[in-house]
């Protein structure tokens, strides 16, 4: 065994460059002769483009080119696409409005891309953009999802009636209606899942570069999935064939979903580099991130839970309106459907579920996957309902949950998912203990004495990661397969390069993936290099999102390692004149069991490459690849318990305790997994306590367009967390992993809001529960409380 194998708290390999300022992010890259792009954006939520006069801008100092949608169209450059087809319940395909990279005819949200100026310096490009004369004929805007279908609502795409993207449903409506008819108790909630702006701290950036001699393009971009970007830019947008387009995603400063998508800016930069004849670089400013990164969440939901006399859940009915913004972003259509409603069974045995989802266009930025993507919304619905039901029935919320837990696996829910394994009671028990649930009443009394309100809230979340068998997602409308690829190259001298289709933008793959290899062969971790993020190096990859790098990405590596191991054993057995079944690998040595005959790993690899003495018929070399297609989704689950104290004078709330007990299956590096949980909770609390994307309902102006207006969680807003793991190994993949990247963001909003509603004694608290919202709630609640 090595101390760098599975389960070891290895200090990250990648940190050396980041802590010394030697990271290599897209904006850190400077190519010879590079020019700078600036995007002119729409100041209006909705307007007809009368004309765009670029003459003055073209004459400005340093300007090399000014491009509009007409130029893209002239070159046959296609629009941006949405890669997941959803069908409405009447069988009709979703309505996907056109999404040109630079606007044609109309602009549809504030920040929509109107023109691109390329100049010698960034400042010159920005200055020149002010000289472009655009004839905007302003039109009324529709901003809120709830209004999008009403008569007279402004249409985002003229040809799409009622702003309807799709009207989708899942589950058995009749069975669910029957459950509600027979229910002993029904709990109802109206829930708004607030819109968020992702805000990775590195703004998006891109450098397009055309090599005329080779007739080939290179695009450096802040992407979570460079191969998917290449595929889309090539096959759908038509920049160049795949073999003439290289996409490099170097160090990327956080993504959280927002860097999955293929955006207008990178498309225009790579295309324009041929026209300019020099590299074209664009680095987003933060205000552009606010305006034009795909946003997250934005659901309006009516939800009902039916229970029998014994407190058993018998049915769940959910109606959701999902705001998709002005255009369908890359994977947007899947988020409020298959990533959301398929998780509505939560951790519970629910015999009947029906959900309908109306997705609508509005004059706002596109909405797509953001950390958790659909699953936080589902968890929020289920866990708010269950908590509210417990309160109405005067049952302990832990007890009501326990009564309804799924305890037998595999478990088929009424909404597609087949849970493979889990132990929800174990994580609940552990969390109750760590949170000192038994002592809560005392603590509440102490708070009351001090004039404070104290509340406790649970979130027993489940999510589905590692999506999923490619054929299964294909049948649900996905335009791609969701497998992953890996290549393991053992060099003659015995060091190893692993080329992975996963992409690390903070997740620590260079360490975790190396641990998997170190564990297998007992090799020191500095002998192992992880390579990712370059379509010229890595054979193919689907990238990193949906907590898939562990369960899918590492499974691909594990499969390739199986092949390496088998071949290495054959070579050693041949050289040592033994049977390959007797070869054991330990501490970097292959030895014949029960003898002192052995070869170092490096001797075996050298033997593979010098090829002087290989088994009959064996090809030289020691390099293997794998394309791993998952057998099932994975189902991370756990229990988060949040305790808050509120000062009723000011509405300010403080998180006094946060316990997270998660079941992620096998854990490779606990440091890294805990870090993922911390960060996820941070973002989830951000959503629940502070962050609200707000558009002016009339003008469609983004009111929260900077860090002065959009409240990001800071260190003083968050507590230290108490973490523990309960483990059921995932049976669906060779590494036993379930994925950990999103759990915190999924559980946290429900746990926090359940604590807040407990403290405030009403379900009627908006999210985010800012001090102002809390204070208002308290003012409204005061007379009622006094009357009691």
């Amino acid at each position: 065994m090595t101390d760098t194998g599975i389960g070891a708290r290895v200090v990250r390999k990648e940190d050396q460059r980041f802590i010394t300022g030697a990271g290599n992010y897209t904006d850190d890259i400077n190519l010879p002769g590079q020019t700078y792009a600036y995007f002119l954006r729409s100041p209006h939520a909705h307007a007809k483009l009368g004309g765009i006069d670029t003459k003055r801008a073209e004459a400005a100092p340093g300007v090399l080119g000014v491009f509009t949608g007409a130029d893209l169209a002239r070159d046959g450059i296609g629009g941006l696409i949405c890669g997941w087809m959803i069908h409405s319940k009447d069988g009709s395909p979703m309505n996907a409005g056109p999404h040109p990279a630079l606007a044609q005819e109309k602009v549809r949200h504030v920040g929509d891309h109107v023109a691109c100026v390329v100049a010698e310096t960034a400042a010159q490009a920005r200055d020149a953009a002010e000289l472009i004369d655009v004839d905007y004929q302003e039109l009324p805007a529709c901003v809120n999802a709830a209004d999008a279908k009403s008569d007279g609502a402004a249409l985002v795409h003229d040809e799409i009636a009622g702003n309807t993207v799709y009207e989708w449903e899942i589950g058995d409506a009749d069975l669910t209606d029957a459950a509600f008819r027979d229910a002993a108790h029904v709990t109802r909630l109206s829930i708004v899942n607030n819109r968020l702006i992702p805000n990775a701290i590195e703004p998006r950036a891109a450098i397009g570069c055309y090599d005329a001699a080779a007739g080939a393009y290179t695009l450096y971009t802040t992407s979570q999935n460079p191969h998917v970007a290449r595929l889309v830019l090539s096959a759908f947008i038509g920049i160049a064939p795949e073999h003439k387009l290289r996409v490099i995603a170097p160090d990327v400063g956080g993504g959280f979903g927002s860097k999955i998508f293929i955006y207008a800016e990178e498309t225009v930069c790579v295309w324009a580099s041929r026209h300019i004849g020099r590299p074209v670089k664009w680095t987003g400013e933060r205000s552009e991130s606010f305006l034009a990164d795909a946003h997250g969440r934005d659901h309006v939901t009516q939800a009902e839970l039916a229970l029998d006399k014994a407190g058993r859940i018998t049915g769940l009915r959910v109606r959701t309106i999902a705001n998709m913004g002005a255009y369908l972003s890359t994977f947007s259509s899947s988020v409020p459907t298959y990533l959301y409603a398929t998780l509505l069974s939560g951790q519970y045995n629910i015999p009947a579920i029906h959900a309908s989802v109306d997705a609508v266009y509005t004059h706002t930025a596109p909405v797509d996957a953001y950390r958790g993507a659909g699953r936080p919304e589902a968890c929020y619905v289920v866990e708010r309902l269950v908590e509210a039901a417990a309160r109405e029935l005067k049952l302990d919320p832990a007890e009501l949950r326990r009564r309804n837990f799924i305890t037998e696996f595999p478990h088929q829910t009424p909404v597609i998912m087949a849970y493979d394994t889990g132990d929800y009671g174990a994580s609940l028990d552990k969390a109750l203990e760590l949170a000192d649930y038994a002592g809560f009443a005392k603590r509440k009394a102490a708070s009351e004495k001090a004039g404070k309100l104290r509340g406790i809230g649970f979130a027993n979340y489940i999510e589905a990661c590692g999506i999923a068998p490619s054929a299964a997602v294909g049948s649900l409308g996905a335009g791609v397969g969701l497998w992953e690829s890996a290549e393991v190259r053992v060099n003659p001298t015995g060091n190893i390069e692993v080329l992975t289709g996963s992409h690390s933008h903070g997740q620590g793959h260079e360490t975790t993936f190396a641990q998997l290899v170190s564990d297998r062969f007992g090799l020191p971790i500095d002998q192992i290099e992880i390579v990712h993020g370059d379509t010229d190096k890595v054979q193919f990859g689907m990238g990193t999102y949906g907590s898939r790098s562990g369960p899918v990405g590492m499974s691909a590596i594990a499969r390739a390692l199986d092949k390496i191991e088998a071949k290495a054993k054959k070579i050693a057995a041949h050289a040592l004149e033994a049977s390959q079944d007797d070869i054991e690998i330990r501490d970097g040595t292959l030895s014949v069991a029960g003898t002192d005959k052995s070869m170092a790993f490096g001797e075996v690899s050298l033997a593979a490459y010098v090829a002087h003495n290989l088994p009959e018929g064996m090809e030289p070399g020691l390099k293997e690849t794998s394309f791993y297609d998952p057998a099932n989704f994975t189902f991370p689950a756990g229990c988060h318990i949040c305790e808050v104290e509120i000062d009723p004078e000011t509405g300010v709330s403080e998180i006094v305790s946060w316990v997270a007990v998660d079941d992620f299956g096998t854990i490779i590096n606990p440091n890294i997994v805990e870090g993922q949980v911390h960060g996820g909770i941070g973002q989830g609390v951000g959503q629940a306590m502070l962050e609200a994307c707000h558009y002016d309902p009339q003008s469609g102006q983004l009111v929260t367009g900077s860090y002065m207006d959009y409240c990001m969680p800071r260190a003083a807003d968050l507590p230290s967390y108490k973490l523990a793991f309960t483990t059921t190994v995932c049976p669906s993949n060779p590494v036993g992993m379930k994925g950990c990247g999103e759990a915190g963001a999924i559980a946290a909003p429900a746990a926090f809001m359940n604590a807040m509603t407990d403290a405030l004694g009403t379900e009627d608290v908006p999210m985010p529960a800012t001090p102002q919202a809390v204070w208002r709630t308290l003012q409204g609640a005061a007379p009622a409380a006094a009357a009691q």
């Binding site: 200090v11 990250r12 990648e14 940190d15 050396q16 460059r17 980041f18 802590i19 010394t20 300022g21 030697a22 990271g23 992010y25 904006d27 850190d28 400077n30 400042a123 805000n199 990775a200 701290i201 590195e202 703004p203 160090d251 990327v252 400063g253 956080g254 959280f256 680095t283 400013e285 933060r286 205000s287 933008h505 903070g506 997740q507 620590g508 440091n671 890294i672 805990e674 870090g675 911390h678 960060g679 996820g680 909770i681 941070g682 973002q683 900077s706 860090y707 002065m708 990001m712 969680p713 800071r714 260190a715 003083a716 968050l718 230290s720 967390y721 915190g744």
Partner: protein, 154 residues
């Protein structure tokens, strides 16, 4: 274009800049010191923190010309003789970074806050980090690392 001269990480440097050129642009574009990052346009995120004459400043809110004759230390200049600064080491040991984008600013701000405060409790560290955003870590390990770094610096 006026010329500006200053000391950066112990070396004398000078360059031609516009009046509007920010210190962070001078560092990143003229000197190719890309360890100092830009995460916002409203002086909120702290990704750009460097030390100017021994004090933490936001390089996105400082004009290059303001630094004439100044002594600037960036993340690239923090490690001495190939040895990590104790705060860098503490960030690494405590897994206080994920994507690493906020990290240079965090480390520079952390060194400054230890210099100013000496001994630090958790509440002080959290309050003092007001000017630095991290989207990845939930701050838990950053707070731990700064406490450990402060100890190692004393």
């Amino acid at each position: 274009m006026p010329t500006v001269s200053m000391t950066v990480n112990g070396k004398s440097v000078s360059g031609n800049v516009e009046g509007r050129t920010l210190l962070v642009e001078f560092l990143r574009r003229n000197l190719r010191l890309t360890g100092t990052h830009v995460g916002c346009d409203t002086s909120q995120c702290g990704a750009c923190v460097v030390h100017l004459d021994g004090k933490a400043v936001k390089a996105c809110t400082t004009l290059a010309l303001q630094c004439e004759g100044g002594d600037v230390v960036t993340i690239e200049g923090l490690a001495a003789n190939g040895e990590l600064h104790p705060m860098q080491q503490a960030f690494r040991d405590n897994h206080a970074l994920q994507c690493g984008f906020c990290t240079p600013g965090m480390v520079m701000a952390a060194v400054d806050l230890v210099n100013r405060n000496g001994k630090l409790d958790e509440a002080t560290i959290r309050a003092e980090l007001e000017g630095n955003l991290c989207r990845c870590t939930g701050y838990h390990n950053i707070v731990k690392a700064i406490a450990a770094g402060a100890k190692a610096m004393s």
